[in-house]
Amino acid sequence: MIRNPRDLARYTAQERANHWMVGICFILLALSGLAFFHPAFFPLTQLFGGGTWARILHPYVGVFMAISFLAMFLRFKDLNRMTPADKEWLSRVREMVDGDDHNMPDQGKYNGGQKLMFWVLAVCVLLLFVSGLIMWRAWFHLPVGMVRLGSVLHAATAAVMIAFVIVHIYAAIWTKGTIRAMWYGTVTRAWAKQHHRAWYRQTTGDHR
C-alpha cells in the first residue's frame, strides 16, 4: 500500500527484515544479558521461562544475531564509508543535538553519526561474539584466565552496545518521519531533503 507515490524508497523489504532480525535478537540478548550482569535485572529472566532457560537460550540467540548482523554489515558497509563531510558533520554534532540543523553540511544516505553508530556496533558485535563463545561452557572448555578476560570484555562491550542502541532508537524517535523507513521502507521527499540532502538530490535528480 503506497500512501504517496512520490515518497522515496529508503529500505527494501529484505533490508527491513534483516534489520528486525538483528533488532529482535538484540532485545532478547540485552534483557537476558542484563539479568546475568546485575541482580537488579535478574527478574528479567522470567521473560524467558526462568534463569536456567535464559542461560540456555542467550548464547544461541547470540549466534543468530551475529549471523544476521554479518548479513546486514555486508549490505550496508559500502554506504557507511566515512568521508570528510561526515567528519565535519561529527565535529559539529553539538549544534545538531541542540536542535539546530541549519548549518549542518549536506548528508548522503547516512550522516556521520549514523556511520559512527554502524562501525561501533559492528565492532561490538564482533567482540561480543568472540568473548561470548569463550564464556559458553555448554560447548567450550577454555583456560580460566581466558574465560575471566572474556567475561569482563563481554560485559563491558555489551554495556557500550546497549548504550549506543538506546541512542540509535532515540535518534529514530527524535527525528520525526524516520521510523516508517524501517517499518515499510519509504520516507517523504521533505524528510529526505531536510535530513539527507545529498541523498535526496541523488535519488530524485532534483539539484536545487
Binding site: 546475568f36 535478574f42 580460566v144 521533505a190
Partner: protein, 295 residues
C-alpha cells in the same frame, strides 16, 4: 528463620543485608597433610554421606583416583612426588572446596540464592537456584566447582553443612583413621595447627606452617603443610590465592558503573526530547515540496 546453625551471612546476587543479629561461631576443617596416609577413606565417606557415586574410572598410572574433582567427586586426594633436601617426599593433599571467607564463586554468581555463605563460614551451593552459567568456576581461585552434564548444575563440597547444622563433624573428618582431618571452631583449629606446627618444626621441618591464605580473607578449610613456604609442591596449591582482579572488576566496580551509565543514557534521551523537542521536517520545506507536487 531457619536453624540458627544455618543462618545465612551472604547470598549470591543479593544486594541487601542478610539477617545478622544472631552471632555464630566460625567453623573450620583442618587438614594436616603431614599425618595423611592417602587411604582415601575421606573420599569414600564423602560419597557415602552425600549419596554420590561417580563413574568407575581407569588407572592413569598414578594414585590419584578419580583423576579430578567432578560433580560427583567433591573431594580428591592428590599425590605429588617431590624432592626436598635431597630426599624423595610423597606429599598427599586432600583437595576440595576451601570455603573462603571471601568466596569468588559467590561474588560471581548471578542467580539469587544459588550460593550462600552461612554465618558459620561454610560456602554452600543451592542447586535448586543454580542456572548453570558456570560463573562460579570463573570466580573460584582454587578451580573447585564442577558443572554436571546430567542436570547442568554446579556442585562442590558442602563441608557437610547438613551434618554441621546438627552439631556433627563432616563425614570426611568422622572417618579419617589417622586424625589428619580435624573439625571445630576456627580458633580451636588454629590452636591445634600451632601445636602440630611446633611438632613438625622440632622434627626438622623449619618451614612448617598453616595454610589460611589472607588473599581470600582466610579459609574455612585449612592445611598444615610441612613446606608452608612452597604450597605449590602440594599438587599446585596456589601460593597467594585471591579473587582475580578481572573478576573483581566484572562483578564489582563494573556493575553499578554500567547500570548508572545506561540509566543516564536513557534518562538523557528522555530529557533531551522534553527540553529540545523533536527534530521535525520544517514547515517551509514541506510546503515547498507540496507546491511542487501540485504542479
Amino acid at each position: 528463620m531457619a536453624l540458627q546453625s544455618l543462618d545465612i551471612a551472604r547470598r549470591s546476587a543479593t544486594t541487601t543485608p542478610m539477617p545478622s543479629v544472631r552471632q555464630a561461631i566460625e567453623v573450620a576443617k583442618l587438614i594436616d597433610v603431614s599425618t595423611c596416609i592417602g587411604c582415601k577413606a575421606c573420599q569414600a565417606a564423602c560419597m557415602e554421606w552425600n549419596d554420590i557415586r561417580d563413574e568407575v574410572g581407569g588407572c592413569r598410572g598414578v594414585y590419584d583416583n578419580p583423576a579430578d574433582l567432578s560433580p560427583k567427586s567433591w573431594t580428591v586426594m592428590r599425590f605429588a612426588e617431590v624432592e626436598q633436601n635431597g630426599k624423595l617426599e610423597w606429599l598427599i593433599r586432600k583437595d576440595g572446596c576451601m570455603h573462603c571467607a571471601d568466596p569468588g564463586c559467590l561474588k560471581s554468581c548471578p542467580a539469587p540464592g544459588a550460593i550462600v555463605q552461612y554465618a558459620n563460614g561454610i560456602v554452600d551451593f543451592h542447586q535448586e537456584n543454580c542456572i548453570g552459567c558456570g560463573y562460579c568456576i570463573t570466580g573460584c581461585p582454587f578451580n573447585i566447582p564442577r558443572i554436571s552434564k546430567e542436570d547442568g548444575k554446579a556442585y562442590k563440597c558442602s563441608l557437610c553443612s547438613d551434618r554441621v547444622a546438627v552439631g556433627q563433624a563432616p563425614a570426611c573428618v568422622k572417618t579419617c583413621p589417622t586424625g589428619a582431618i580435624q573439625f571445630g571452631s576456627k580458633e580451636q583449629m588454629k590452636d591445634y595447627a600451632d601445636h602440630r606446627i611446633q611438632d613438625l618444626k622440632a622434627r626438622g621441618y623449619d618451614k612448617a606452617g598453616l595454610y589460611d591464605p589472607p588473599g581470600v580473607g582466610g579459609t574455612h578449610v585449612m592445611y598444615v603443610l610441612h613446606h608452608a613456604d612452597q604450597p605449590e609442591l602440594y599438587a599446585n596449591l596456589p601460593q597467594e590465592p585471591s579473587i582475580s582482579p578481572l573478576v573483581s572488576l566484572w562483578k564489582g566496580f563494573a556493575k553499578p558503573l554500567a547500570t548508572m551509565a545506561l540509566a543516564a543514557v536513557t534518562l538523557g534521551s528522555l530529557f533531551h526530547y522534553v527540553t529540545k523537542g523533536p527534530n521535525e521536517v520544517s514547515k517551509e520545506l514541506e510546503d515547498e515540496l507540496e507546491k511542487e507536487e501540485a504542479k
